[in-house]
């Protein structure tokens, strides 16, 4: 794949595995600066595992991940640490620290990586929480808020250091349609206002069509990427039927099933 000037994240010949069990192989794609990049695929296809490999929680078996042309996979621990500070990650379950209030959760990385005073940190934490619509909940503990609020608080914490890249692991999983829609809107707004590159792992079709500017489709059978690009283009005739079936909730398959069923 040709290197582009605006390439922000480059994944090169990545093979990911758990022990001997290969999850995905030969993954090759580029995320451009400012993209909302969707990693999609069926449950169990290794979407979240790919994300874990991209942010260094798992080590790939082969290949590498580059940020701004600099290898993350092969970086020394200290360099990696610095690169990590430019990432914000929102985990599937929010992963809020249950012993800290929402404000303290957001303030944790701020206290560590900035030279701000305590009052300033608190102010910024309040601002980030206000941005995700959690004004007034600053001193609540995670156990005292609802599931949708957990996710928002997770986003606020991911944004704490104004990262270049935001990673979202299944942001709308377990949310009702309205909350899910509001989360999509929030992601779009964040991209517009922060100018961050956003990588989202999801299989929620409405979200995919609403926010994606680019995507890859992981196929569980061939264990690699079978489609790349704008999800809308994957619906065109001539696109991979497997991807079309996924993006149409299997509607394409319906006539075929009735003939042999």
């Amino acid at each position: 794949m040709a290197e582009r000037d605006d390439a922000h994240i480059t994944v090169r010949d990545l093979t990911i595995a758990y022990g001997d069990f290969v999850v995905m192989r030969d993954l090759d794609f580029t995320v451009r600066r400012g993209d909302i990049f969707i990693i999609m695929g069926a449950s169990g296809s290794g979407k979240s595992t790919l994300l874990r490999n991209m942010i260094g929680l798992n080590e790939p078996t082969a290949g590498e991940v580059l940020y701004d042309g600099q290898s993350f996979t092969r970086a020394e621990p200290e360099v990696r640490q610095q690169m990590l500070q430019r990432f914000g990650v929102m985990y599937q379950g929010g992963a809020l620290f249950s012993s800290m209030t929402l404000a303290e959760n957001v303030a944790l990385p701020l206290g560590e990586y900035t030279r701000l005073s305590e009052a300033e940190i608190r102010e910024i934490a309040f601002l980030k929480l206000a941005l995700v619509g959690l004004k007034g909940f600053e001193d609540f503990f995670p156990a005292e808020i609802s599931g949708g609020m957990w996710k928002r608080a997770g986003i606020a914490r991911a944004m704490a250091l104004d990262p270049d890249i935001l990673f979202f692991d299944e942001p709308s999983a377990g949310l009702d349609p309205i909350s899910s829609r509001q989360l999509d809107d929030l992601i779009l707004e964040l991209r517009a206002s922060l100018g961050a590159t956003i990588v989202v792992v999801t299989h929620e079709l409405p979200s995919i069509f609403a926010i994606a500017t680019n995507s890859v489709f992981l196929d569980i059978e061939t264990k690699t990427i079978i489609a790349q690009g704008l999800p809308q283009d994957m619906l065109e005739p001539g696109a991979d039927p497997k991807v079309r079936r996924f993006l149409t909730r299997g509607e394409d398959e319906q006539p075929a099933r009735s003939t042999h069923g």
């Binding site: 929680l57 990650v89 809020l96 620290f97 249950s98 560590e112 069923g261």
Partner: protein
Amino acid sequence: MAEAALKRGDMAVSRTGDGTLVVRLRGAWTLGTGIPPVADVERALLATPKPTRIVFDLADLGAWDSGLVSFVARVGELAAERKIPLDAATLPDGLRRLLVLAARVPGQKGVRPAGPPPSRLARIGLLALAAWAEILAMLEFLGQITLAFGRLLRGKARFRARDFWLLVQQTGADALPIVTLISFLVGTIFAFVGAVQLEKFGATIYVADLVGIAIVREMGAVMTAIVMAGRTGAAFAAQLGTMKVTQEVDALTTMGFSALDFLVLPRLLALCLMMPLLCLYADALGVLGGALIGVTMLKLPPATYFQQTFHAVALSDLGGGVLKASVYGVLVALSGCLRGLQSGSSSSAVGDAATSAVVTGIVLIVCACGMFAVVFYILGI
């Protein structure tokens, strides 16, 4: 039909002239009433000459549910193995659809690792390999902790002071009631057992020596450590295990925090600092427990008892005990944190981690206790 519905299901297998196997089902075929075994049909299927096809006669069939479906599916499988066609035409419509549904997705091959279970010898080998991997993991953890400790001394380790003070409270003050109970009782038990023996020689005053030396040198530290392994070690494993399940450990890592610095170091330090204090407290309570027996049962004057205790117990005994307590504290914290961080991502894995933390903690304490005994003996302390 009405009476047939109430009767327990049974069947009759017969063959017609053209080799058709007719399975006649009668009565209720439900999970509640019980389903006859498939063996009769199987025998008829195996008979020579081979039946040409199977037909179900359901004229007298009463109520049916999944019990019948599973029976017919099993017969279908057996028939398919022997390549005998099954005539589904007489089956109820709903049942036929359920059979189609069950057969739609063929069994996935290669989902489970194939091959027979390993032989006894191979299992012993696998156990040995697992044990070796376990030892390596522990040593690696110890090495990482040492590095983290180095970072702490250079002022580079990062954790929240508030977390640390909270842990100090949890592992220190909050543990006082149970430590009080256990060490006081151990003191009285020692005194009681000693008194029965020493009374025969009229040397009851030496109960004070016995209790003082045993508690201060060994039992104060060991009993406190065992209590803390069960109380605090398990709690550490459960806390860290849950943090792994909820991805909080991952979140720390991607924020650039070392989970070792942030989670393990404060726990290690808190226990390492609190254990000597708890041990001193346990020593005092143990001696007090001994004194209770000495004064009430043996009628020794309290002043004499304490005088005798101070006379018997050397400062080196006390120092040795406190040193041991500190080491046991490190062991309890290490095993709790190690098991917590090793925990898998499920609720049962967290339970296993807590159990394993207590077992590992106690094993390490006992091993360390033995080593201290040898070292102190050689050094003559």
